[in-house]
């Protein structure tokens, strides 16, 4: 299947709900005559016990649990043929069905994908036997085939039940478990050949090896988990620092209470609407929270002045992006947010401050925040004026798109805010403490 191509829902449903169960039943029924033969019974008993044991020995990584079952099934195919593999897959499906899964359709789909994998690998095995390929190479190829087929058929089932794209599921399965899976398959192949030449006792070193691997993995992931916890702590600390900084910025000016949060909120929403990754959208959010940090360095009498600012005062106010930039830069924290802090007052036509950047020279994060900053400044009440209605503010943004704002961003922003209902808008403002925002002309 090619990336981006979505399997039609009906076909997916047909494969998972009909083909898988039918194949499961068919493959078991075709294997029964061989199982019935007295010469097969020792193999069946042996593989039942082996499957039972390995079902509860798994290598657990943060993303996947991988058992040796596939290795056991694979060795059965190599040593005895498809019928033995089908038996192992049946036993594993029974254990999973009774112990782990609920829901008949999922149980049948799981059995179907597993048995189909066994059948495809078994068939290829028989075909390879007739070629001159050395057995060791053939085993390796079959192990990789087993992995590929199983992953694909499995992701088809998972994609259907969790309503995701098959390709996405397959990619994430491969990303999260490939190496462990391939390791297990190679182990199965080696185990099979060892047993063929040295008998059952040779399974002992294979099992010991697997157990040792399991312990190593456990220790490794235990340490990884501890590291992750530390990282989470640091992240929480970062959030606390950011929140404290935002609070101190807002505390300077009670009229702009919650301004940083709203700028951050709209900035992140716009970033999401642009299709930026979560990490980048979060950066926009934090940039929004910190964008006005430089106002800490502006005197109170200028910041809280009611009425028009003198030329000199206005000049001082215009210093706040640079002051903020230096504060954060010297603190040595959040270097990725520096462009947001320094350039959120740049204009698209180059007439902004402090550096007079224009167009695409202005970092994206700053262009985004310029919009959300201007929007919130317009709709919020200020000491010297009342906030304008939301619709009016959006009109102003449209009028200034291409001059003050990035045209493309402005359009998306206007569409974004318009997609909010009255209640949703009120909720956004209420959560950040601003309650007297006019949503349209006349309404308050």
């Amino acid at each position: 299947m090619l990336p981006g191509i979505k399997l039609p829902q009906a076909l997916q449903r047909f494969i998972v709900r009909v083909c898988y169960p039918v194949l499961a039943v068919l493959l078991i029924v075709t294997a029964i005559p061989t199982w019935e033969s007295r010469t097969s019974w020792n193999t069946l008993v042996f593989y039942t016990i082996l499957s039972l044991v390995v079902s509860f020995l798994a290598i657990k990584t943060p993303n996947v649990v991988i058992t040796l079952n596939n290795a056991v099934t694979f060795s059965a195919i190599l040593l005895y043929g498809t019928w033995a593999g089908v038996w192992c897959a049946t036993i594993e499906s029974l254990i999973i069905a009774f112990l782990f899964r609920s829901g008949v359709s999922k149980i049948l789909a799981n059995a179907g994908q597993l048995l189909s994998t066994v059948w495809i690998v078994g068939w290829t095995h028989e075909w390879l036997l007739r070629t001159a390929l050395p057995p060791v190479l053939a085993d390796l190829l079959l192990g990789l085939l087993y992995f590929a087929v199983n992953t694909l058929l499995c992701s088809l089932g998972i994609a259907y039940f969790s309503k995701l794209r098959t390709w996405t599921v397959a990619k994430s399965l491969v990303k999260s478990g490939t190496c462990t899976y391939v390791l297990v398959m190679v182990l199965g192949g080696i185990g099979a050949r060892l047993m063929e030449s040295h008998g059952i006792a040779s399974l002992l070193p294979v099992l010991v090896m697997f157990l040792a691997m399991r312990i190593i993995f456990q220790q490794y992931f235990h340490n990884l988990n501890r590291l992750q916890q530390k990282m989470d702590e640091v992240r929480r600390l970062n959030d606390t620092i950011l929140a404290a900084m935002a609070a101190s910025i807002d505390a300077r000016d009670p009229y702009t209470h919650g301004h940083s949060y709203r700028v951050a909120y709209w900035g992140r929403e716009l970033a999401r609407a642009l299709g930026l990754a979560k990490k980048e959208a979060d950066e926009v959010y934090y940039g929004g929270i910190l964008h006005d940090i430089g106002k800490i360095g502006i005197e109170d009498n200028i910041l809280k002045k009611e009425g028009k600012l003198s030329r000199e005062e206005y000049h001082k106010i215009k210093q706040h992006p640079v002051i903020g930039y230096h504060i954060v830069k010297q603190a040595g924290v959040f270097p990725e947010l520096l462009p947001a802090i320094r350039h959120h007052h740049e204009r698209y036509d180059g007439k902004g401050y402090p550096d007079g950047l224009s167009g695409q020279e202005i970092p994206l994060i700053a262009r985004i925040l310029a919009l959300s900053d201007a929007f919130d400044a317009m709709v919020s009440d200020r000491p010297y004026r009342k906030g304008v209605p939301v619709e009016h503010a959006l009109q102003i943004i449209r009028d200034n798109a291409g001059t003050q704002f990035d045209q493309a961003l402005a359009e998306i922003f206007v569409r974004l805010v318009r997609s909010y209902s009255k209640e949703q808008l009120e909720e956004v403002f209420r959560q950040s403490g601003q309650t007297n925002v006019k949503l349209s002309e006349g309404a308050s």
Binding site: I32, W35, E36, R38, S40, W41, L44, V45, T48, I49, L52, S55, F56, L57, A58, K60, V65, T67, L94, I95, F98, L99, F100, R214, Q218
Partner: protein, 183 residues
Amino acid sequence: MSIDIILLSFVIALLRGGRLREVPKFAKLRFLIISLLLQGCSALFPAMGGLFVSLSYLFTLLFFYHNREHEDIRIFMIGWSLNAVTIWANFGKMPLDLEQARKLPYSLEPVINGTDFKHSVLTADSNLPFLADIIYMPFPIARVISIGDLFIMLGAFLLVQRIMNKPISLKGLREGRSYAARN
């Protein structure tokens, strides 16, 4: 049933430091009682034995189903289902492989002449022979068991560990934890 396995499980649980605290409460215990009564009936009325045994297995399965929240019971269910399917497929009797059974120290007369209420002789005509009693198990008490019995024994072992307050969780084992959380 396999008294020796159960005893052995108790010994292991004791060695693991387990002590009997309280007897677990089972839901729908009446299904189990009905099942036992049906087995009794099959011994009393051999002519209808097959039907009684088949029904008895159904009621035991129902009993397990209602107690399925426990892992050990789920393992029981796997084994019991495998045995039940074999018994149903062979009209109420579990085929016994004489080749293996001859190693046993006791007489097979009732099985051979058809008076045993639960077992029959495994022949070429038996259905699902690989799920019948075909495994000779010399220890602790010599017997011939089926693949389903392997699961039942594991289930019995786990059940005893749980009763003795030292549960072993198979799901936990799979996830890398050795023991189940104490109740």
